[in-house]
Structure formats: C-alpha cells, structure tokens
Symmetry: C2
Amino acid sequence: MTDQSVAKWDVYEASFSGPAEGNPFIDVAFEADFSQNSRKVRVPGFYDGNGVYKIRFMPDNEGAWSFVTKSATPALDGKTGNFTVTAARKGNHGPVSVANKFHFAYADGTPFLSFGTTCYAWTHQPLSEQQKTLDTLKAARFNKMRMGVFPKDYPYNVNEPLHDVYQRGADGKLDFDRPNPESFRHFENQVAALGELGIEADIIMLHPYDRWGYCDMSPEQDYRYFAYLTARLAAYRNVWWSLANEYDFLLDTKPMAQWDRYFHIIEENDPYNHLRSIHNGDPAANYDHRKPWVSHVCIQHWDVKRTGEWREAYGKPVVNDEPEYEGNIIQSWGNISAQELTHRFWITTLRGGYAGHGETFSHPEDLIWWAKGGELRGEAWKRIGYLRDLLEQDATHGLEPLNKDGTFPWNRISGSRDGDVTWIYFGEHQPVIWAGGLPQDDRKYEADIIDTWNMTVTPAKIVSAPENHPTRHGAVLRQRKPDAAFAVELPGKPYLALRVRPLD
Amino acid sequence: MTDQSVAKWDVYEASFSGPAEGNPFIDVAFEADFSQNSRKVRVPGFYDGNGVYKIRFMPDNEGAWSFVTKSATPALDGKTGNFTVTAARKGNHGPVSVANKFHFAYADGTPFLSFGTTCYAWTHQPLSEQQKTLDTLKAARFNKMRMGVFPKDYPYNVNEPLHDVYQRGADGKLDFDRPNPESFRHFENQVAALGELGIEADIIMLHPYDRWGYCDMSPEQDYRYFAYLTARLAAYRNVWWSLANEYDFLLDTKPMAQWDRYFHIIEENDPYNHLRSIHNGDPAANYDHRKPWVSHVCIQHWDVKRTGEWREAYGKPVVNDEPEYEGNIIQSWGNISAQELTHRFWITTLRGGYAGHGETFSHPEDLIWWAKGGELRGEAWKRIGYLRDLLEQDATHGLEPLNKDGTFPWNRISGSRDGDVTWIYFGEHQPVIWAGGLPQDDRKYEADIIDTWNMTVTPAKIVSAPENHPTRHGAVLRQRKPDAAFAVELPGKPYLALRVRPLD
C-alpha cells in the first residue's frame, strides 16, 4: 500500500516520536533501509528536538519504495513506510557528480558548468537581507554558492548570528553536545531555496573565523557534528560538502588525521555520495586532493594560468573558488578589479577548470556580498553570467585544454575544445591574426570574436593560415607550423576570445 | 716615457704588424701583460686581418701603465708600450657588475637599474636603419640592449645581413675558420655607439635562428669564436656576455658540457669579468644559474609574480629579459598589450628583479623593433622610461622585497624597499586604503600615488592605520595587524603604485 508520493530527487521525509529525556543527540541512534525490490539504501536518521526523530531520503529512481527503521531504541525500531516516486519535477536534474574526469554533470546527464559565488554567512543575517540575497541570485547566473554552517567573526563581520548553531545551557553557554534544531532547520530551508533557483549549496562545515567557540569543539563533538549535518542535509540534491574554508588555519588544533576522519564520516552517512572537497588558505598548504575520498579539487589561488598544473597534480575537476575577489577593501585577496576577475574566469575556464566569484566592496554598514549576501555592487558578475550562457550553448563533455602539457603557446594563452567547438581566450594578448589550435579537418567552420568585457559576439573573418617559416634550427619548437587549415583575423586589442564551430 | 693617453674605462688599443700568410686566426696567438707598478693584467690579442694584430685594454685606474707582448711569433713578441690613464670622461661610470647580491652597479658605485630592450639583429640592417635605431634609443630611456653577433633568420627576418660574420672562401661558402674582421669592426663600433648613449650591450653570442650555417660550427670553431669575440670586445666597458638566446633550442647539437666550456673560455679571455648570463627558450629548460661562472639570471617568463622564486632559487640578480613583448603578431610571446607589459615591468621591479622590453608590431615591411630596431611604435616604452626615472631618484642599494618569502600579502601584490624609501605596486588590485608594509618608526613620511599608465604622481592622504580585528582562530595569518603606524587613502582603481619617503 502506497500512502505518499514524492518526485525523483526531491526529499522524502518521515517523522517518528521517541525519547526526549537525557540527551537524545548522543543517546539515541536510528537509521532506515530504503528499498526498491532487492536494492537497499542505508539512510541515517537524526533527532530534530522535542522528541521528534526524522529520516530523509532522496530517491534516485521512480516507482514503489519502502523503508524499515532500525534502532536500539524500541520506539524507533521496525517502523515501516511505503511511497511512490514520480518523475522528477521540471528543472530538477538531480545531484551533481564528477563527469569525464575533470568535469561535472547532473544525475540526468546534463553537464554542470560550475559558476559559483560566495556568501559565507548569508544564512546568519537578518531575514530581510537573506531574502535580498535570494532575489539577487534569481537575477544573476551563479549556480553554486559557498556558504558556512557556522556564523562568521572576521573583519566586516561582527554582528551576532540569527541563530546559535548549538543550544545554550542554563549557564548561557553553548552546549556543543546539543545541536540547535531551529538553526539547522533554517539552514536547510535556505539550501532548499537555493535548489529551487538551480544553485548548488557548497556547504562549508568548519572555518576558523570564530568567537563563539565552534572551533574549540572536541574531536568527538566534531565527529558527531559531521554525522548530524550529513544525516540532516544529504537528502537535498543540491548539497556539496566542503569540509572547511582555509582548513590549514585550523591545523593547530585539528590535526591532519582528524580531517581525513571527517571525510570518512561523511562517506559513512551520505548514501548519495555528494561531492566532497576542502579549501586551503596558504597557497602552499593544499590538502592532498589525490586522497580517494576527495571528489574534486577546491583551491584558492590567483595564478590561474597554473590551472593545468592542478589538473595534472590531482587528476580531478579543479574548482578555483578564490582566484581573488572583485572589490576594494584593504585585504589583497579582496580588491581586484572587475576586469581582472572576469579575465581570471576566462583563463580558468578555458584551461579546463572552474572559477568562483566573490565581491568585497567596502560598505559603510559592512554589507558585503562575500560574507553577508544582499546586493551585488560590482561589474564582474554580469560578465561571468555571460560566459556561462555562452558555454552552455555548446557544452557536451566539458572543456579540455588544446594542449594538456601546457607547451607553447598554450602556456601563454588559454585554449580548449568541447566536442567540435574550439574556444581560445587571448586575455592580455592581442594578435591581429590567429591560427593555432584551430581544427584542421575538411569541415567548414565559422568563427566568432567575443569581447569578454563588452559582452558582444562578432563574426570573424576567416583567412588562409600563415605559412611556416622554413628555418632549420629551433624550427620545431619555435616556428610551429600553424596547426590549422585556416586562420582568423582579429582586431588587435586585449580581452578577446574566439569561438570556432562547425557549420555542417 | 709616455707616448699616449686614454681615459679610465675607455679603450686603449695597440696595433702590430705580423704574418698574413697561412691562417693567422688559427696559427698565431699573442697576448700582453698590462702593468701598473707590480700589478699585471693579462690581455689576449686578436688578428684583425691584412697582417694587423691588435690588443685592446680597458684601464680601471688612473696613472702610468705599460705593456709587453708575448707570442711564439717573433714579430709579436716582446713589444712594449707606455700610456697614461686620465680621469674617466663625464658619463663613463665604468663597467657594470653585480652589487648587493641581487642588483647591479657601475664600477664607480653608481647603481645600475637595468631597463633593457631587444633588437636582436639591428647591426645587420641597412646603415640608415641602424642610425634610426640609435636616434630612437637616444630619445628613449633604455640602458641595456640585447643584440646578436650573428644575423637572424626567422619569421619577419628574411633579409640578408649587412656583413658575413665569417669570410667566404673561393667556393663562395662561409669559412668558419676565418672570421670576417669587417663584420666585427662594425659590430664593435655599434657597441661603442651604445656606450656613448649610456646603454649596455648584452651581446648574444649564439642563437638558433640560422640559415647560413653559423649554428653548425664545430665545437672547436665555436671555442675559437668565443675566444676571438672576447678578445675583441672585452675592453668595451658596456659589454655583457649573453651566451645564447634560447640556448636550449641548440642542445640537439651543442650539449650541456659545451655550454659550460663557453663560459670558461670567456672567463679565460675577459680580464674585466664582465657580466655573464644565458637565456632559455622553454620555461622548464633554465640553465642552472647557480653555476659559479654565471653572474646573473637571465630568464624568459611571463609569470612575473614568480620573480621571488627565481631570486631564491639562484641567489643572483634576476633579469627577466622576455616577460613577453608588446605587439600584435601571431606568436604569443610577441603580442601582449602595452598596459600588460608596463604592468609586468612594475611587478618584476618591485619584487626585486629587472625586466626587459621588446616590441613586435606587425609591419608591412617587417620593420619590427624586436629584431631590426628602427622606430618604436608602441606605448610601453614611455611608461618604462618613467619607471626608471622615478626609481633612479632614490636608488641606493636596490629594491629588496618587503617580504622575502613572499607570504601574504606580498605573494599577491608587489612591494619593496630601497634604503628608507618604500614602493608598493597594486596592479590589478584596487584597495581604497592601504597600510601593509609601510614604515612603523617615529619618523614623518610622505606618500605619493603613482598612476603607472598616465605617468602622474599625486600626494596621498595619510590616515590612521585600521585596527586589527580581534579574532582568535587564524588571527595571525588572516588578520595581520597592519605593520604600519599609518595608512594611506587610495582612489580605488587599478594600476597604481605607492611611494613612501621620509620627510626628515
């Protein structure tokens, strides 16, 4: 008997009554096996306060499902349920995972080209500001949001959070053995709200910007926190796990083995294998992203022409979430020009990586997008949206660099191909003619010049490829025969890109 | 008895008649000891054709000097002479050598801040073009010129040279056992002409861009060539030895030991210890500049924020002679914007290195500055001259990075100090207030904002340094207490620099 229905990749939730005495967060454990025919999926449950226990499940297949709970606590053991999973709602493509080694795709196969932004503490701002953030996101073209679970204490971030993430005891102190369900409920509502906007929530589980004591939880409290968060949130299709922001600034109290263990706990409690990454502070302190529990590389680095090095080093998708932010504050990670951030997006993307956006413009009331959300005040976000729109027109496999080992000229300029569409970004380079990397088969092609700042596409004139100069020494390396059957004329100004597509 | 006089650091030359039969270039050797009291300087002589032998000497001390020749050839043995060395001519500061580990100075102690340009084959162009080059240099502010001995065969370089560098035999073929003295005389006249303009001649002894056979000389012929060139040119105060351009593109025929030997031959024949370097093609193929015969690092690399890495790796002055050229040709090393090249000069310089200029604008007759000289057509050269003028106002020791290990924020922006003058270049960064790296003693300072593109200096408003934010975690690394007693306000736009000088 089917008593409920839920769409594929939406959240199915079941609630149960259980013990409220003692500390159920620690004392009580329960889980369920969700089944379809002989297939079983183990799903951990969680305590939501006031004697209410919940279990959430994201079905990945249509049809009849059932579940049965397991617990040492009799009230939560052997509970069963049935439900029907209907077709996915329009616009729900499922969770994102790694595709084609260096790229991402939704579960339904749609390529996911990551164009993220950052509002670390937006869910801890006044509700009116949070609504403003959602309204802004609706009008922008970002599809990933980096956001922390804990509130933030940092320059320009001195206000108290909307909720404590843990409950306060009689002494008024935070009790790190008792999560505050109200805070988590609010957080997951905002994760869901992002999902409705087509935005992945890149959830930052720990960070060092703290005055409340969240950083000082014991290892056991941390482990329970990771399990609790995972149990609550894994059923949201748009969740990505980011273990920390600038994890290396926490290494003094949380040694490396602890970070490995956090990854394992997520793996143990996330039936859907959501993406998992970890973000560094010091450019020399990258976590070893080769470890098998890391799904993709999260990096903070300004030198975006090195994107190929990171792909090569880790063999996974590279997301450079902080190629520095557009803004004008005193901190050097937060004061590059809009032109420069746009430039870094193009370079990163056309070297087969993904870049992240943030805005840090000084504001009299410290309303800065990068931490609090609200309103965008810069210029880069429009160009980033334009880049996304352009790329999505032709995306199939993901952009692969024209020359994977980065030799001339692809160490200087950026070029890649996805299927039979070729992209070249010249940036600070301004040739008046170009031939390198263009297709050299017998098909007919069209070429377009993209002004990355003014957001225009103009057809390029196709001409004969320049002849190779017949020198003897160094000819192979220095006077590469143009690897193209044709060339294109360019206007000889910086910040242009070229798109070449087959006509037939 | 004194029969001649020469100014200090000018060229004293003596000629002798000797055998003209056979091949004097190979058969005859002679040298001289130049003496002042008990001090002796060994100087190699050379054959200048037509039975004429010459010896050249650059005296480095005023007063009476004498010499006596030595040779197995009786006509060249035991010849003596006396001369008086007078004070250096105005503007002649002597040869340049390494000073303060990472910098350069003339022999009289004047700091030499290298601002070089490149005209590889300018001495092989028609004489009217060569005069144009000298006229252009007179109006520009470059003080170093990279120039090859051999002619150049390369895209945009297909004309025959003014002279063969070696004599042609009866069969019309070049005889690599017989240098062409006419060619060398012309070359050294142009080296001297540069000297009169205050320009160092960075002489490229080998390069791979060849259709005449110069690249195919045997090791023995190469060794004789290095000795001959050194004997002819070492007495010119403004000579720097650059063993090759893109030496690694010649490694197929000239293995590494041969390159080491070239260095040794120069050391054996250059009594003045002129600067010695070697230039790479592939960014991964740097010669090991730690070898003791290398005086400074010559590098070709676009990623100029890595200047500190090269200083650290080699412990010698870093001259990035090809941070890519301003231009618009199809080759990616030769088509960056004027803005970008100016930017790269500021970054390199304010990280304690030196950058080099070149211009590669497409021209209907292939008259391109980078190889042929002639006229400058770009915009960067003016800004580079402006940078030189600014720095020379206060130069004493040389610019040393504010943070030698390149940690935050000096990995992102560029800052350095020379004596008590502080320089910061923000580039693509655009803070509205700045405090990092400013002096924190009790002296009074003035601060100037430099618009590096528009070439203006504007006094900056000095304000209180922002307070440190009192967070616990990550505070040391992330919220550096401003290491300054004050801050300056900035207009919040890119490509600005800051100069801070004491008022008292």
